[in-house]
C-alpha cells in the first residue's frame, strides 16, 4: 500500500511503527531464509571432507579449502562446458531477437489476410508444453544430414539446441508485439510517405524504439538457454559438447556424496546468471511484469 494511505491508517501512530518494524524484520528474516540454500552451497563448497559431516553444522568453514574449486574444475572439462553454454546461449539469443522481432513487427504493424488466425495459432503454442513435441523434433533432427557428425545426422551435435531459435517463438513474438503496438503508427506512416518500405521501417523505427523489450527478450532467452537441461541430455553425446547443466548432472553421477566438489560445481554454474540478474534486474522485472499485466 502506498505511503499516502498509510498516513491515513486508523491505527495509532506508535502501534503502526511497531507493526512496520515487525513486518520489515519478518521480510529480512524471510529473505535470509530464501538465501539459505545459496549460503549452504557456498559454505559447503569451501569445507574439507571432514567438516562437511560436522555436528552441529558450521556456516563458516574453519579453514576454507579453495582447492575444492581446482579439483572440481579438473574432474571434468568444465571450461569446455562453460564455453558451450555461452556459445549456445548467445546463438539462441541472436536467433530469437531476429526472428521474433520480425514476426512481432508483422503482427503489430502490417495488415494482411490470416493475421488473426496466425497469431492465434502462435498463442496456442505458448500454452503447449514443448515436451509434447520432443519425439517428433528428435525424429526430424535425425533425418537431417550433418557432415561433421559421427551419426551422419544432427543427433549428437549442438545444432538442435540453437537452430530452432532462428525460427521464431511464441513468447518472444508476443512480448515484442505488445511493445511494438505502443509505438505510434504515425511514425511508420510518415516514413512510408517518404518512400520507406516496411523493411526500412522495421530497421530504422521499430528496432531502435523497441530496445527495452529487445533487451528483456535477450535476457530471458539467454537465461532459458543457459538453464536448459532436457534438450542437452537428449541431443548431446560427447562429453566435450556438453553444456554446464548436462556436465553438472554427469558430475553428480560420478561424485556421489562428495558434497564440497558438487557444491563448487553448482556455484560456478549459477554465478554467471546471478551476475546477469544483478546487472539487468530492471529488464528482468519489467519483462515478467510486462507480459503479466498485458497477458
Amino acid at each position: 500500500m502506498s505511503t499516502s494511505t498509510a498516513t491515513r491508517s486508523p491505527w495509532p501512530r506508535r502501534f503502526r511503527t511497531t507493526r512496520r518494524a515487525i513486518l520489515i524484520g519478518l521480510l529480512v528474516a524471510g529473505g535470509l531464509l530464501m538465501m539459505v540454500p545459496f549460503l549452504w552451497m557456498i559454505s559447503t563448497s569451501l569445507k574439507t571432507r571432514a567438516e562437511v559431516f560436522a555436528v552441529p553444522p558450521t556456516l563458516f568453514p574453519a579453514r576454507p579449502r579453495f582447492e575444492n574449486y581446482a579439483e572440481m574444475w579438473d574432474a571434468l572439462p568444465f571450461a569446455g562446458f562453460f564455453v558451450n553454454s555461452v556459445k549456445l546461449a548467445l546463438l539462441n539469443t541472436v536467433g530469437q531477437l531476429i526472428s521474433c522481432s520480425m514476426a512481432a513487427y508483422a503482427f503489430a504493424a502490417l495488415r494482411f489476410r490470416f493475421r488473426g488466425p496466425l497469431f492465434g495459432l502462435l498463442l496456442v503454442t505458448l500454452i503447449i508444453p514443448f515436451q509434447v513435441v520432443l519425439v517428433p523434433n528428435f525424429v526430424l533432427y535425425r533425418l537431417l544430414p550433418h557432415p561433421l557428425s559421427t551419426s551422419g545426422n544432427w543427433i549428437g551435435t549442438q545444432e538442435p539446441l540453437w537452430v530452432g531459435a532462428f525460427l521464431g517463438g511464441a513468447f518472444g513474438t508476443f512480448l515484442l508485439r505488445q511493445f511494438f503496438l505502443s509505438i505510434p503508427r504515425e511514425l511508420g506512416d510518415a516514413a512510408r510517405v517518404d518512400g520507406a518500405n516496411p523493411w526500412q521501417i522495421y530497421r530504422s523505427i521499430y528496432l531502435p524504439l523497441g530496445k527495452p523489450a529487445l533487451a528483456t527478450l535477450a535476457i530471458f532467452t539467454f537465461m532459458w538457454s543457459w538453464n536448459d537441461f532436457i534438450n542437452p541430455i537428449i541431443y548431446l553425446r560427447d562429453v566435450e559438447s556438453f553444456t554446464l547443466t548436462a556436465g553438472l548432472s554427469l558430475f553428480q553421477g560420478q561424485y556421489v556424496g562428495k558434497w564440497p566438489l558438487l557444491m563448487a560445481g553448482a556455484l560456478v554454474s549459477v554465478i554467471p546468471m546471478i551476475i546477469l540478474f544483478v546487472v539487468a534486474q530492471r529488464q528482468f522485472v519489467r519483462g515478467i511484469a510486462m507480459t503479466g499485466i498485458k497477458g
Binding site: G31, M34, V133, R192, F229, M273
Partner: protein, 302 residues
C-alpha cells in the same frame, strides 16, 4: 526498394494487403510453426499409433499404445504424481507469493535488496538448485536433518521415503518459483490507483476491508496470469525429478515428462512416448480450458 508506389497497390498478394511483406517477415515463424511446434503436435499423434524403435520402420498398431498406457502402473503413478504436484504446488505457490508481494510492496530503503533475495532462485538453473537441495535433504548430514536434530526431532530420509519424496520436491519447487509470481503481483499492486484506496479510507474502510474489497479484486487479473504460468509449468516438471531422484525415479516421484523422456530417449519406444505426450497435451489443454472458463466467475478486469 525505394519505390513510391504505396504497398496498397499490391493488394491481392498471397495473404492480401501487405501480404508479401508479411510473408517475408513471418517466413521464419511459419517454418518454425510447421516443423517445430504446431506441426509436430499432429506428428506426435501419428507416431503414437505406431510401434517404432527408430532402427526398424514404424509399425502401425492402432490404439495399442494407449491401451497399454492405461494398464502401465508406472505411467499411472506418473500421472498421479504430476497431478499431485500441480494441485499442491500451484495454490501453495500463489498463496505464499501473494502474501510476500503484499509485504514487499513497501517504500523503505533497502527493499530492493530484500526483493532480490526472493528473485534469485528464479534465475538460477534448476539443476544446480536441485543439487543443493539434494544436499539439504541428505539423510546423513544434510542441513534439514541437522537443524531438526538440534531441536530433538529425528531425521528423515526426505527423498527416499515414498510419502515424503514428492512433498519434498514440491517445497523446493515452490521456493524456486516464488520470485516470478511476486514480480507479477508487485506489478499488479503498483498499478492500483492510490485514489481508489484513499477513497475507500475516506469511506471508513479499514485495512482488511480495503484489502478485501479494493486490492484483491483489482489483483485478480495478476492472479489469473500467475495461475496460468504455474499451471503450465507444473505439468512440465522434470529437471528436479532427474536430480533429486537419482539414479532413477521410483514410482513415488516419477512424473509424466520423466516418463516420456525415459521411454523415448532411454528405451527408444517412440510410439509409446508419443502416446504419453499426447495424453499430457490433452490434460494440459483440459486443465487450461477449465481454468480459462472459470475466469468470468472471479477475474475482474477494469
Amino acid at each position: 526498394m525505394t519505390s513510391l508506389r504505396r504497398p496498397a497497390a499490391r493488394r491481392g498478394g498471397p495473404l492480401g494487403g501487405e501480404g508479401r511483406w508479411a510473408l517475408l517477415f513471418l517466413a521464419p515463424t511459419i517454418l518454425g510453426l510447421t516443423v517445430l511446434s504446431a506441426g509436430p503436435i499432429l506428428a506426435t499423434l501419428g507416431i503414437s499409433l505406431t510401434k517404432w524403435d527408430l532402427l526398424r520402420p514404424p509399425q502401425f498398431v492402432g490404439f495399442d499404445n494407449f491401451v497399454q498406457l492405461a494398464h502401465d502402473d508406472r505411467f499411472l503413478k506418473a500421472l498421479r504424481n504430476t497431478i499431485f504436484y500441480t494441485v499442491v504446488s500451484v495454490p501453495l505457490g500463489l498463496t505464499v507469493s501473494l502474501g510476500l508481494a503484499l509485504a514487499l510492496n513497501q517504500t523503505i530503503r533497502g527493499i530492493a535488496w530484500i526483493r532480490t533475495a526472493y528473485f534469485l532462485p528464479v534465475v538460477t538453473s534448476t539443476i544446480a538448485i536441485a543439487l543443493v537441495w539434494q544436499w539439504i535433504y541428505a539423510p546423513d548430514a544434510g542441513l534439514l536433518n541437522q537443524v531438526l536434530g538440534l531441536v530433538g526431532i529425528p531425521g528423515r530420509k526426505w527423498l527416499i521415503d515414498p510419502t515424503l519424496a514428492m512433498p519434498s520436491i514440491v517445497i523446493m519447487s515452490v521456493w524456486q518459483g516464488l520470485g516470478t509470481n511476486i514480480i507479477i503481483f508487485l506489478a499488479g499492486l503498483q498499478a492500483i490507483p492510490s485514489e481508489l484506496l484513499d477513497a475507500a479510507s475516506v469511506d471508513g474502510a479499514g485495512r482488511w476491508a480495503r484489502f478485501r474489497n479494493v486490492v484483491l479484486p483489482l489483483l485478480t487479473p495478476s492472479m489469473f496470469f500467475t495461475g496460468v504460468l504455474s499451471l503450465i509449468g507444473s505439468f512440465q516438471v522434470f529437471d528436479q525429478i532427474y536430480v533429486l531422484s537419482r539414479p532413477r525415479p521410483t514410482d513415488a516421484t516419477i512424473t509424466v515428462v520423466y516418463f516420456i523422456y525415459e521411454n523415448g530417449f532411454k528405451f527408444f519406444k517412440m510410439g509409446y512416448a508419443s502416446a504419453a505426450s499426447w495424453i499430457l497435451f490433452i490434460i494440459v489443454a483440459v486443465f487450461t480450458a477449465v481454468y480459462f472458463r472459470s475466469q468470468g466467475r472471479w477475474v475482474h478486469y477494469q
